[in-house]
Symmetry: C2
Subunit: 316 residues, 2 copies
């Protein structure tokens, strides 16, 4: 793959793995990140590669963005607030760092004649569509978090730019992505809590929430597979998640098990949701990507177990 | 109906009819409009009613908006760019005047404890879903205009605010709304062109585009019906359009007929779309609102004919 890739959110958990993957594929890569949610340490090791350049910059600075993007052929747009919960307290957070930021990315693409974008959207755009597996065609899309609302706004912008300005897009509605270097998410949270207090583990909600977990390397494989093989229309949307659902109580059980601790008391804070804006149950229908020829190999439970082991390994 | 209503875009075509209707229903009404797309003349006659107040203000001025909204119980949020086409040349237009404006409206509601919003969305959010009638549950929603992208972004924001801040919303995905005082739209355009040159009528596209036309008084009736009768969930979405589709060629034919002119040569500019971002074919499935007990009485063709007569009457 000989693309000149521009990666926003490059110093984040997913972004840093993507940079590694693209370099392995033979691409030239520029990483762009404001380091508000990302960490320089995540991509430090890539700086030795002469095909990698890092630019510290903000997606809300249209000029810096457009300048940094010059000369690239493909944008991977991952940059966004990394925290679904914060948007409720600071309601401008996602509007700016996701919606307006994406507008700026698309304008920078127009200014530089970049015609291809891979965009990481989120299963949160579905809102609460019930307990059936959700295909990409499901609607109405009524998100219940400002993070989800902003991701849907971005999808809509990407789609309109595709049509109006002859851009091609691959949009991925992701579930939870897990693996080494995770700075956030339920696994990280629970491990941190266990380190602070090895006797009692507080879990948000009643433990019955159903989520989907995908290993970062499977995410990378799936995204690159779809990018290479789905070329039939201008703007394409794919679910990108594990189809096997997993209850939060089971996540907690796996994590406690992997730490090797005995007698940990699990205490649920209670309530149908982990936090305001949390979708209690989401199941992804992966038929579309399966028909294209790809599906994840690991179950959600396996992904959580493997990711936990890696994170525990990091701590040593 | 004893609501203290706050109407954004009150001096627009739809807004001014809504103000009249709400006053007839016995409501107190504040109209808010920056008069960029609306006209003071549209609501001048309402100013005699002591229950009506007009505030000239911009939705992009959060403080003025929050102050004007104080003391109201129900927001009708119609304010937006009135022109689907302009968004392609000025790509910030809809992002600001629709998406950010709606964020400001929702924040002003929070600040003032207003718990109910009626939002006028648009069938443009569906993008190109083909020639089948589209129910509200259709997806994926990939709009092809920046107007449609912004309306979808607004729906998503409204939905998230409903969930996070205990607001109730009625969202209407409207087709073409027609009637007296229309400042824009195909009927107005064609009448203006005929007045300039009564021998030849230029029609954008190949005339085969299929749209849906609803009379403004039916829109008003349907919106108030749904508002009164749909209370089962926090955020509800309804198509609001005529189910009978109408080709643009037929619209042109009705308009020429109603002007009484003979020998008008109709010249099509050609092409599948009227303009970039134009959805060539949209049909609405109105089952949801019909199940609730309401549907429009007039066909699209009747609506176009009646609206044309009214607009011709205005010119005299």
């Amino acid at each position: 793959m000989e693309e000149r890739c521009f990666v926003t959110g490059a110093a984040g958990f997913i972004g840093s793995h993507l940079v590694e993957g693209l370099l392995r594929e033979g691409c030239t890569v520029t990483g762009f990140d404001n380091l508000r949610w990302g960490r320089r340490a995540s991509i430090q090791h890539c700086l030795d590669d002469p095909r990698f350049t890092f630019v510290q910059g903000d997606l809300l600075d249209p000029q810096a963005l457009a300048e940094a993007m010059r000369g690239h052929s493909l944008v991977f747009h991952l940059g966004a607030s990394a925290d679904v919960r914060s948007g409720t307290d600071d309601t401008r957070l996602d509007l700016e760092n996701c919606t307006v930021a994406t507008y700026n990315v698309l304008e920078a693409m127009r200014a530089n004649g970049v015609k291809k974008i891979v965009f990481t959207s989120s299963g949160t755009i579905y809102g609460e569509l019930g307990s059936q597996p959700i295909p990409e065609s499901a609607g109405p899309n009524l998100p219940i978090s400002l993070y989800g609302a902003a991701k849907l706004a971005c999808e809509a912008l990407v789609s309109a730019y595709c049509h109006l300005f002859d851009i091609h897009a691959w949009i991925f509605r992701c579930g939870q992505i897990v693996g080494a270097r995770m700075g956030r998410g339920v696994i990280r949270d629970l491990l941190d809590k266990l380190q602070r207090d090895p006797t009692e583990l507080e879990v948000l909600g009643d433990g019955k929430q159903v989520k989907s977990y995908l290993l970062i390397e499977e995410w990378l494989e799936g995204v690159l597979y779809a990018y290479r093989n789905a070329n039939h229309s201008q703007c394409q949307v794919f679910n990108m998640a594990s189809e096997s659902p997993l209850r939060v109580a089971e996540v907690a059980r796996i994590i406690v098990q992997e730490t090797g601790r005995k007698d940990v008391r699990i205490r649920y804070t209670g309530g149908e949701r982990g936090w305001p804006g949390d979708v209690p149950e989401i199941r992804f229908d992966m038929s579309k990507l399966r028909r294209l020829g790809w599906e994840p190999k690991h179950s959600s439970a396996e992904a959580v177990r493997i990711a936990t082991r890696r994170l525990l390994g990091e701590k040593k």
